[in-house]
């Protein structure tokens, strides 16, 4: 589990001050929710954790983000390795323009994962609980399995973990664009998991989904948080109450308050937090 630690993180987009001197430690192995009104820096904070904000031309970042003791904003830092370690789900899921199978296989292929590495991954997954009805092939996984078979198993495992396997197992090579939005978001989850991250970031993962799909995603997060550190941005207070272990409250770019979920929701220390939690401001 990586230790994520923000020290005076400060982000400016041109003249707009997105985040002001944020200092906090994100707890390992828990689901942390970032809450707050719109436009207050939640997505900026999330995207700072995997340097996705680098994609914006005019962004200036000050301060440090330490993951496992290393500052990810160090000029010599390996951004590709960072993004492998820290996975990301965006608000509106975007299926890559390829088949369902290739969507999941994309990450491992890009990172040139060898057959041995893939089989190791599968071994580890076999040991995780909740993997329902693994097909018999996984039991037979040995080093004599051909590379493509190993990838087949990998794709199946992650689709299982994302709760999508039953729905797509007969059309793995169909274009991913044909899936419904809820299915696409689960596909995005499987895709992110396939590169073996240690952290999962999710930017309002259910706001574009219907209630059934939203519930499915929340369920997957529940079961995933035992193995990964999860950080979710949400503007739905009830969702945060349901799933969060730890909460960060951002208001106008400032980290106003943070703490264990129960404590923050029942007895918020700062008046602004109280106003937001009670619904006076949104």
């Amino acid at each position: 589990m990586p230790h994520i630690s923000l020290r005076n993180l400060d982000v400016c987009y041109g003249r707009h001050h997105g985040l002001r001197e944020v200092t906090v430690d994100i707890p390992d192995g828990r689901l942390t929710a970032i809450i707050g009104p719109s436009g207050c820096g939640k997505t900026t904070l999330l995207k700072s954790l995997n340097r996705l904000i680098d994609l914006n031309d005019e962004v200036k970042v000050g301060g440090d983000v330490l993951i496992d003791g290393q500052n990810i904003y160090d000029p010599k830092a390996d951004v590709l390795a960072l993004r492998k370690k820290v996975g990301f789900l965006s608000q509106k899921p975007y299926p890559l323009p390829m088949s369902i199978y290739d969507n999941i296989a994309y990450g491992p292929r890009i990172h040139r994962m060898s057959q041995w590495q893939i089989l190791q991954q599968i071994e580890q997954l076999r040991q995780s609980p909740h993997l329902e009805q693994l097909s018999p092939q996984i039991e037979r996984a040995t080093t004599r399995t051909k590379r493509s078979d190993a990838t087949d198993l990998l794709v199946e495992c992650y689709l299982q973990m994302a709760g999508l396997w039953q729905e797509v197992k007969d059309r793995l090579h169909d274009p991913a664009a044909g899936l419904s939005v809820g299915q696409q978001q689960r596909l995005a989850l499987a895709r992110a998991l396939a590169v073996e991250p240690e952290v999962i970031l999710a930017d309002e993962p259910t706001s574009a989904l219907d209630p059934t799909s939203a519930q499915l995603i929340e369920q997957q997060f529940e079961f995933l948080k035992e193995q990964y550190t999860i950080v979710v941005v949400t503007h739905i207070l009830r969702q945060a109450r349901r799933i969060a272990d730890y909460v960060l409250f951002l208001y106008l770019g400032e980290l106003v308050e943070h703490g264990p979920a129960e404590q923050l929701f029942s007895a918020p220390a700062d008046p602004r937090t109280r106003a937001y939690v009670l619904g006076d401001i949104s």
Binding site: L55, K84, G87, F88, Y94, M98, Y106, I110, A192
Partner: protein
């Protein structure tokens, strides 16, 4: 009140007239040129004319084959030179350059598009022809420099702006989420371009290339000035060639004095029109369909 309505309907009627004229222009062009081509089509079938390679108007022989080969060869060379250059440039502008750089370079490339073809020809005569002559001699060919290769190079340069600007627009229209999805998995920018951006933009890029092809196919003056204008099928890059538009341009003076010559040249113009307009229509229809489908 009635007066206002009368004015409105009179104006609408005259504007509709303009619209009808504009829409029938393409048809008028085709019909007009066809009418003038009928004499020679009455004498020989179209297929014969296109495939026969002897061009001796004085003897009444009008084989278009050398010109068709000349046009195709020059256009092909231009495409081979232009496609990689333009795609790589467009990818850089869309995916790697900062917004300010892109906004600076785009108008400069549009400027290239506005340069008249005689000026390209001028540059071709002064710079490209000697260059090709030098290359030819180095390769052992006794060329004057006025050659297929020179024509291909000039055409390539002339289609740079259209292919680059349409391609850049097409690439930019791939949504940012697509790139984010790939980069968030730890892919490099180049891998994202290869696997995500290019496949999303593939069809639009093909349309851009077809537009460039159509432009090169019909270009007259610049290529005329550097290509040598010898009516024989070229057998090497350093041989002179004679594309179809150049044929028409060079011989309008004599065409009235030799029987059937004017009809042959009008047929050439008709062929050009149909091919180029056809490609243009296809590419634009395609781009339109792409815009409509999200």
């Amino acid at each position: 009140m009635r007066w206002r309505r009368i004015k409105d309907s009179a104006a609408t009627k005259s504007m509709r007239l303009a619209l009808v004229l504009v829409n029938s222009l393409l048809l008028l062009l085709i019909l007009g040129l066809y009418a003038k081509s009928r004499p020679i089509l009455a004498r020989e079938s179209l297929l014969n004319l296109l495939l026969y390679s002897s061009w001796h108007p004085l003897k009444g022989e009008f084989g278009f084959f050398p010109f068709i080969v000349g046009t195709l060869a020059a256009t092909a060379i231009a495409m081979i030179l232009a496609i990689p250059t333009c795609l790589l440039s467009a990818i850089y502008l869309s995916e790697y350059a900062r917004r300010r750089v892109r906004e600076l370079i785009r108008p400069v490339i549009d400027l290239l598009a506005g340069i008249p073809s005689v000026i390209y020809g001028f540059w071709g005569v002064i710079v490209v022809v000697p260059l090709v002559r030098y290359l030819g001699h180095a390769a052992g060919s006794p060329t004057t420099g006025y050659s297929l290769l020179a024509g291909g190079i000039i055409l390539a340069v002339m289609v740079f702006p259209i292919i680059i600007s349409v391609s850049t627009d097409v690439l930019q229209s791939v949504p940012a989420e697509a790139r984010e999805a790939s980069l968030a998995l730890g892919a490099t920018r180049w891998e994202t371009v290869k696997h995500v951006v290019l496949s999303s933009a593939r069809r639009g890029l093909m349309a851009a290339i077809v537009l460039g092809f159509a432009r090169a196919f019909g270009e007259t003056m610049a290529v005329l000035m550097v290509v040598g204008n010898v009516p024989k099928v070229p057998t090497s890059l350093f041989d002179p060639a004679y594309p179809l538009p150049a044929l028409i341009a060079n011989n309008y003076g004599e065409m009235m004095s030799i029987p059937l010559y004017d009809s042959a040249l009008m047929l050439a113009a008709l062929v050009l029109l149909v091919v180029v307009a056809g490609f243009n229509l296809a590419a634009h229809l395609f781009l339109l369909r792409l815009e409509r489908r999200p």
